[in-house]
Structure formats: structure tokens, C-alpha cells
């Protein structure tokens, strides 16, 4: 099944315009293209490994052009194409599933790549790749080429390309304090649930302090850090930020992931419920990632490592998949349809933090 078509989320994903702008801004993907072509011509099966939405697809397109190779994408549950002559195969992370017997297609791919009679270049999601490094020693079968992250200079050029007329401003005064308070609800023996002000250290405030002198640099720095230099993620974060009409002037605090926005809204709602006296019905907190159990985080990892998946594939790897996917969608990690689930590009930092924090491979 084509999860792309089913998910209906193509418009939410970075398109050709982003990659053309990236090429114009110094073309940071070029070294990966050169190295992949060089290794492939030398006869090694090549794996182009990149973060979700980080430009892996564009690297593979250019490699296919340079090698004059066939260029196909692997779909979840679909069979492997024949590797006759120069071949570029994208989204090869769909060749395995986290189930008993889920590595059979991958083993077949290993064999075909080893016997291929022409240059073979494959494309892998980096989270799937890191799992397979330990689960299947995949680095024995391919020479890996990493898709590079972009630096602040390139990110600045992209932002100016996306929003030539945007203005930058320093964050509000209250966002610059290193020590703040956060009101959290704790259960106290004998007193029940009580909202208690808890001192919190806001490390982001260190970044905001010099924002008054150069707001643009502060915004670019924040965008680069938040996206981890991933241009596709940065594009989505920026799009979310400026899509709101209030942000014609952007400050660093306006850059938020979907999960951060959802958490903020949930906290506001919970506070309002307590004020109105309508809280306490036992609804689990929607504002706290700590409330997500390991199967839900695992489900998030499945989507992070595949970017798009049919629901049935998720359901084969984890029980009660519909409920878990619903929890992830409500918190802003993924979007779903009746048949498919897709990772939200702007939520990649949240998904990585959630799953790496729990050391899910």
C-alpha cells in the first residue's frame, strides 16, 4: 500500500522548492551525492542514511541522475524490485518490520545487493539504520554515507528565502529569566491533588539574553538547534511559526514544536478546569510526556523510523495500535487517516527526544 497516498499528508512535507533553495544556499548535500556515486561506481552497495525529511530523497534523486540509474521507492509490505543494472532504491527501511519473521525481505535485499551486477544505492531513515546496526549488522552489507545537517549560515539563507519580508524581534522580558516557576499538580497524602509552584531553570533563556542585540541571529540559532540542522524539519517549524498571522514579527520563543504547542494548550485547559472546578474527573493529563507509556513511545519510534506507515503494519508490531496512535496524534506527534499514519515533520525533535530518552532502539 502507498502510505503516502493513504495518509494524505504530502502537502505537509517539504517539497522540491525547499531542496532547490538549499542547492542555491551552498548545496550542502553535494558531498553526500559525490561520495555515494564514488562508492557505487567502485562496486560497493551504498546506503544513504539520513534523518527524516533531511534531504535523503533529494540526494538519491541526484545520485540516480548521475549514475543514469533506475530510481524506485520501496513501499511497506511490497516486494523488492529487481536490481538489474544501476539502481537507486529509496525508503529501504520499509524492507523490515519489527515482528517475528519481519526481517525476511531485508535478508533477501542483502543477497540481491551482494549479487547486483551494477551500482546499487539505497536510502535509509537514520533511526531505522541505527536499529538495524545492532539487530542485523547492516553495516556489513553496505557502505554508509550520511546526509549532512546544515549550519546556521545555510539556515539563515533558507529563512530569508522562505520569508523575505519577515521581521525579527527580541523575546519578551519574561522569557529571558533563567529561573522561573512552573505550577504543577502533585498528589499530596491527605490533601489530594494540589497545584504547587515549582522552581524551574529555563536554559533557553541563556540563548534569549543576547537576542536583543541581534534578534535575527537568535531566531536562526534557535531554529538550527531545534531542528538539529535538518532542513525539512526547520521548514516545517518555520511554516508553523509564520502561518499564524500574529507572527509577522518573529522572536525565538515563537518557534515551537507541535508537541510543545499541544502541551501548552493542555496545561492552559487544565488550569482553566481547576479554576472552574470542573477538573478531577480522572482524565489523564494531556500535557505531560511522562504520562506516555513505553508501548506508546515504541509506537512513536516505529513511525519515526519509517516516516509513513499503513496502520496495519503498526498493528502487527504493537498491540492496541489504534489507541496508541490516537494518543500520539492528540499530542501532536503524528497525523493519521483511516488507513495510514505519518510523522509530522515539525514533531521530529519531539519524537526523537521521547524515544531516545527511553532508549528505544
Amino acid at each position: 500500500m502507498d502510505a503516502d497516498t493513504a495518509s494524505g499528508t504530502r502537502a505537509d512535507r517539504p517539497g522540491d522548492e525547499l531542496w532547490d533553495a538549499l542547492a542555491a544556499a551552498g548545496d550542502p548535500l553535494e558531498p553526500a551525492v559525490d561520495e555515494a556515486v564514488e562508492l557505487a561506481v567502485a562496486g560497493d552497495p551504498v546506503a544513504v542514511v539520513g534523518a527524516p525529511f533531511g534531504g535523503r530523497g533529494r540526494v538519491l534523486e541526484r545520485v540516480a541522475d548521475r549514475l543514469d540509474a533506475t530510481h524506485e521507492r520501496l513501499m511497506p509490505g511490497a516486494g523488492l524490485p529487481a536490481l538489474d543494472g544501476p539502481a537507486v532504491l529509496a525508503d529501504v527501511h520499509h524492507s523490515y518490520q519489527r515482528t517475528v519473521g519481519g526481517f525476511d525481505t531485508l535478508e533477501t535485499l542483502f543477497e540481491r545487493c551482494a549479487r547486483a551486477d551494477g551500482p546499487t544505492v539505497t536510502g535509509w531513515n537514520q533511526h531505522a539504520w541505527s536499529y538495524l546496526l545492532h539487530a542485523r549488522d547492516i553495516d556489513e552489507a553496505f557502505e554508509a554515507v550520511a546526509v549532512p545537517a546544515v549550519g546556521r549560515e545555510v539556515m539563515g539563507a533558507l529563512v530569508r528565502h522562505w520569508s523575505p519580508s519577515v521581521t525579527f524581534r527580541a523575546p519578551p522580558e519574561e522569557a529571558r529569566g533563567l529561573l522561573g516557576t512552573d505550577r504543577r499538580v502533585y498528589s499530596i497524602p491527605g490533601l489530594g491533588e494540589r497545584e504547587i509552584p515549582v522552581p524551574v531553570v529555563d536554559t533557553d533563556a541563556l540563548d534569549h539574553r543576547d537576542a536583543e542585540e541581534d534578534p535575527e541571529a537568535a531566531v536562526i540559532r534557535r531554529l538550527t538547534t531545534l531542528s538539529d540542522g535538518n532542513p525539512g524539519v526547520a521548514w516545517a517549524l518555520w511554516d508553523d511559526c509564520v502561518a499564524d498571522g500574529d507572527h509577522a514579527a518573529v522572536d525565538p520563543t515563537a518557534l515551537q514544536t507541535p508537541v510543545e504547542r499541544t502541551s501548552e494548550r493542555a496545561r492552559d485547559r487544565e488550569r482553566a478546569q481547576r479554576e472552574r472546578g470542573t477538573a478531577g474527573a480522572g482524565t489523564p493529563s494531556g500535557a505531560d510526556d511522562a504520562g506516555l507509556d513505553r508501548p506508546t513511545a515504541f509506537c512513536c519510534r516505529l513511525v519515526l523510523a519509517a516516516e509513513r506507515l499503513p496502520r496495519e503494519v503498526v498493528a502487527e508490531s504493537v498491540g492496541d495500535a489504534d489507541r496508541l496512535l490516537g494518543r500520539l496524534e492528540r499530542r501532536g506527534y503524528v497525523t493519521t487517516t483511516d488507513t495510514a499514519v505519518a510523522l509530522r515533520p515539525a514533531a521530529v525533535p519531539d519524537a526523537v527526544a521521547l524515544t531516545d530518552g527511553r532508549r528505544i532502539p
Partner: protein, 272 residues
């Protein structure tokens, strides 16, 4: 009569100032110490639960902080409120010795055991340990006793003197991850290679597994006259996932065994 000394002068506790005020102050100090220790322990527990894989590193401080609070309270009661000098302390020590002889030696040994646990750290709060005949997660290390929660969610209070007489087995020694073992049995005539592959894949694909260069999945086969034991060994990222992991691997392995036609032993292992 030159050797006669009035009794009042030989009583080393004669200078001890005990009145309603000092007793009240001492009780007050103990109450404050108790409340403070509970608050700090509760606060650190909340912080630990939010600290993810650093949970155990934070919980290590709970018994230490509690010990310091009670030590300061004791010192302030003895030295500050009752103003005991060296003579009084020696006399109090004599009384304590007598009390030990009369039957609180086990309590004293447990307190010493508590100090050993705090400073030598054979186990910490959050570890999974076997203490004597009990196995479970350490939830509290007190001066007198250690509390474990067993896999059946039963709290067991083990006096700290147990560490002097019984061996202590610690499954994770302060780390968040631990080795978990799923044990399955197949008939001696079953396709062992296929069975091993299934167990390995079930462990590799479990939501609870921790995989890294230092944390591989291994499968061990042990032969027996009536059945072959296949053990899937893997690390779980959080020791609380030990039983969810073994249950998940066992459940999916059994389903795959059935689908692949892997023969199960005719007798249950404990019947063979």
C-alpha cells in the same frame, strides 16, 4: 570512711538536664527531622520519576539525605538540648550496652546494617535485588529495614541485618537497564535452528528491549532428555520492564512456534 563518695557525685547522669522543656524540644526536633526527611524523600522521588533513565541515580540520595537529617537531629538533641558531655555520653553508652544485652541487639544490628547499606551500597533504591528469599525492587532503604516490592506487588520489609547473614544478589547494580531472560522449551526433536531464530527475533523486536554494542541479544540452548530449553537473553532499558519483556517475548514466541510447527515438549518441564 575516706573512700566513701556520695552517690550523687558518682552518678554520671546527675548533670543531665531533663525537664519538660528539654523533652519538648527534643520531641520537636525529632518531629521536624521526621517531616523534613519525608518531604525531602518525597521531593527526590518526584524528581527521580521525572528523570527518566537517571531515576536510580537520583534515588540514591534519598537514604543518604535521610541519614544526614537524622544524624544532625540526634547530635542537636544530645549535644544542644541535653548538653551531654563526654562523661554523660560514656554513661549513656553503658546504658545502651545494657539495653543491647537485654534484647535490642537485633535492632542495633539492623541499624548498623542500614549504615553499611548507605555507605557501602550493596544495593540502592531502585535496584532489583534478591535479599534472602525475597526478590523485588528496592523502594526504600531505612536505617532499620529495607523495603522491597515483589513482582506480585507485595511489599516486603527486610531488616537490614539480613545483609550480614544472607547473600545479596543485585540484578542491575545502580544501572537503569538489566538483563532479562525469557525461557522457552521445545521438544528434543523440534527444529532447533528455527526455534532459536524465532526467540532471537522476538527479543530483537520487543518494545522493551535495549540494544547497543554493550547490550546484545543472545540466545542459549540447553539440552535435556525430555525437552530443549531455549533462553533469550536481552537487556531492558528500564528494570521495571523485566516482566513485560519476558511476557512479551514468550507470548510472541509461542505464537510463532505454533505458526512454524515447532514441536513443544510432551511433558511440562517440572513433570519431566
Amino acid at each position: 570512711m575516706t573512700g566513701f563518695v556520695p552517690v550523687a557525685q558518682t552518678n554520671p547522669l546527675a548533670g543531665l538536664r531533663v525537664d519538660a522543656g528539654t523533652v519538648t524540644q527534643a520531641v520537636l526536633v525529632l518531629v521536624v527531622a521526621y517531616v523534613l526527611a519525608r518531604l525531602v524523600a518525597a521531593g527526590l522521588s518526584v524528581v527521580a520519576e521525572r528523570a527518566g533513565d537517571r531515576r536510580i541515580a537520583v534515588k540514591v540520595f534519598i537514604p543518604l539525605v535521610r541519614f544526614v537529617i537524622y544524624a544532625v537531629a540526634t547530635a542537636s538533641i544530645l549535644g544542644g538540648i541535653f548538653q551531654l558531655g563526654s562523661t554523660e555520653l560514656v554513661a549513656a553508652g553503658g546504658l545502651l550496652g545494657a539495653a543491647l544485652g537485654f534484647g535490642i541487639k537485633d535492632l542495633f544490628a539492623s541499624v548498623i546494617g542500614g549504615l553499611v547499606v548507605v555507605f557501602e551500597r550493596p544495593y540502592r533504591v531502585g535496584d532489583k535485588v534478591s535479599l534472602g528469599e525475597h526478590y523485588g525492587e528496592v523502594t526504600d532503604v531505612g536505617l532499620r529495614a529495607t523495603r522491597l516490592v515483589t513482582p506480585n506487588d507485595t511489599e516486603v520489609v527486610v531488616p537490614n541485618l539480613a545483609i550480614f547473614g544472607d547473600s545479596v544478589a543485585n540484578a542491575n547494580a545502580g544501572a537503569a537497564e538489566m538483563l532479562a531472560v525469557a525461557e522457552l522449551h521445545v521438544a528434543p526433536t523440534a527444529d532447533h535452528e528455527r526455534a532459536v531464530d524465532i526467540v532471537r527475533e522476538a527479543a530483537l523486536t520487543s518494545p522493551y528491549v535495549r540494544l547497543s554494542g554493550e547490550h546484545p541479544v543472545t540466545v542459549i540452548v540447553e539440552d535435556g532428555p525430555h525437552y530443549t530449553t531455549i533462553k533469550g537473553k536481552a537487556y531492558v532499558a528500564d528494570l521495571r520492564d523485566e516482566f513485560p519483556f519476558t511476557s512479551d517475548v514468550t507470548r510472541r514466541t509461542l505464537a510463532a512456534f505454533e505458526a512454524a510447527g515447532i514441536e513443544r515438549p510432551r511433558f511440562a518441564p517440572d513433570e519431566a
